[in-house]
Amino acid sequence: MTVLELKGISKHFGAIQALNDVSLTIKPGEVVGLMGDNGAGKSTLVKIIAGNFPPSHGTMRVLDREVHFHKPVEARENGIEVVYQDLALCNNLTAAANVFLGRELKRGFGPIRILDYATMYKRAADLFKELKSETRPRDLVKQMSGGQRQAVAIARTRLSDSKIVLMDEPTAAISVRQVAEVLNLIRRLRDQGIAVILISHRMPDVFSVCDKIVVLRRGTKVADKLISESSPEEVTALITGALERA
């Protein structure tokens, strides 16, 4: 069984060919490191999987069923959760409100259902604690540091039963302490059978948690192999173009 299967995905923006015939298969509980130079097309690939925009060509299957996402929420309904590179936070809302955005908890008296602030604060606090992040659920995101913001974005993916979590440079702006937590989190996801795609420029991170590594170069996939069969040196060579293909 595959969680996600991409076949011949291409994407161009006007004259720019961001992705060129990329195919990819991911099994449950697999952690895939997606690497590549800046502008190689990593974020574009993530956005296509997450339903932000459709590919110019190519097909996508989730759990062996062909899917065509027209908006992000459809991807989420198919069990795909994303931590975006730009985090996608509302600065004017609190951390807890951002975590629960789009799936607020409610409590009801009869047909009237109102927001359940207490539970949302409580659960958000628990999530932040799990991530070992000093983030206050009641604080506005506006005033938060880069790492705190990242914690909010990551906490979001933990709300539902997802099958695959896409993380676009989740460790880029966070401190050693929290990097370790994110990597632990990825391991925990894997143990629960959730697949993870980790985009990162940090070689050590990728080599410490990933099972498989995929390298994009100018929109084309130039490597797709088990981490145990590769090495940081090889990957660096692939990224920089010193090595054509592996």
Binding site: N52, R76, L87, N91, L93, G102, K129
Partner: protein, 331 residues
């Protein structure tokens, strides 16, 4: 260590008082209150039952529309078409009732006309992705033109069998309070509740804060945006019906330029045109303040030539005050 993390996470960063003091709405409310107190001493006519009744009734119309405008502004939009929508709804009420239909039919059709305006605005903004300023600027012309065409530019002042009911609705009182004021109060309470306690309310703030993030997190942004413009048009429609009842006649220049007054009220009350910030109470306070200024100029016998200068300066001062306070705080 775990204890210290817990502590940090649960620390309260604002006291209720400092929260209150940081709200523009609070300061504007204070300004309005002080103005009223000063006027009660400066004139012996301001604090009379009659004058207070007039003042509250007068600002109710702007206040009602300002609540709808607040919703739009929170969502990061703007609605310039409210004055024309109000006129259209008033004309429809008048025409339908003068054709002999009962009040309920008149109101229903007037509100349907208003909702249609809102739907067109909303669809163009949410689905075609056009800027709200442009769409509603266009609608400002179109809706008033529709009012002209429908009424053939005739003054409508006879409202058929239910005329008394209509006049009572817009011009009458309940327990000594002007009916429009009661409508305003009810709508402000509903809006306050929706903003704070419903997912929909949360979502309009999210859209105003970061629309892109709202889309990505699965908020039904387009549907909500259509709703937002429908609500704005609906409040204008309600105000149109009530104004018809109050005035006892409709002409096609009703509500001309009203959009700017309404936006001024909303902004004075603390809504931020960049989106993501605003309160229902603020809209009401803003509308009240503008009316108190207008009323006081006449009571104090100041030439109406100066009215614009006073109202304009107050718009600026209300917001400047808030800005200066927040500048000082951030230093």
């Amino acid at each position: 260590m775990a204890v210290s993390l817990d502590d940090t996470i649960n620390r309260q960063t604002h006291s209720t008082l400092s929260w209150l003091l940081s709200r523009q709405t609070f300061w504007v409310f204070l300004a309005a209150l002080l103005a009223c107190i000063a006027l009660s001493f400066l004139t012996d006519t301001f604090a009379t039952r009659n004058n207070l009744f007039n003042v509250t009734r007068n600002f109710a119309f702007v206040g009602i529309v300002a609540i709808g405008m607040t919703v739009v502004i929170i969502s990061g939009g703007i609605d310039l078409s409210v004055g024309s929508t109000l006129c259209l709804s008033a004309i429809v009420t008048g025409l339908v009732m003068s054709a002999g239909y009962p009040l309920a039919v008149g109101i229903a059709l007037a509100l349907i006309a208003a909702i249609l305006v809102g739907v067109v605005n909303g669809v163009l903004i949410a689905y075609v992705g056009m800027p709200p300023f442009v769409v509603t600027l266009g609608m400002l012309s179109v809706a008033r033109s529709m009012a002209l065409v429908l009424s053939n530019n005739k003054m409508v002042y006879q409202f058929g069998p239910d005329q008394a009911l209509l006049l009572q609705l817009g011009g009458g009182t309940t327990f000594g309070i002007a009916n429009p004021l009661i409508v305003l109060a009810v709508m402000a309470l509903i809006a306050g509740f929706v903003f704070r306690w419903t997912g929909w309310g949360r979502h309009i703030f999210a859209i105003g804060g970061n629309e892109h993030a709202a889309i990505l997190t699965g908020v039904p942004v387009r549907r909500i945006k259509v709703g937002v413009y429908v609500i704005s048009a609906l409040t204008a429609g309600i105000a149109g019906v009530l104004m018809t009842g109050w005035l006892g006649s409709v002409t096609t220049n009703l509500g001309t330029g009203m959009e700017l007054t309404v936006i001024a009220a909303t902004v004075i009350g603390g809504a931020n045109l960049a989106g993501g910030v605003g309160t229902a109470f603020g809209a009401v306070v803003g509308a009240a303040l503008i009316e108190v200024i207008r009323n006081s100029l006449i009571l104090l016998g100041i030439s109406t030539f100066w009215q614009g200068a006073f109202v304009g300066s107050f718009i600026v001062i209300a917001v400047a005050f808030d800005r200066i306070r927040s500048l000082r705080q951030s230093d």
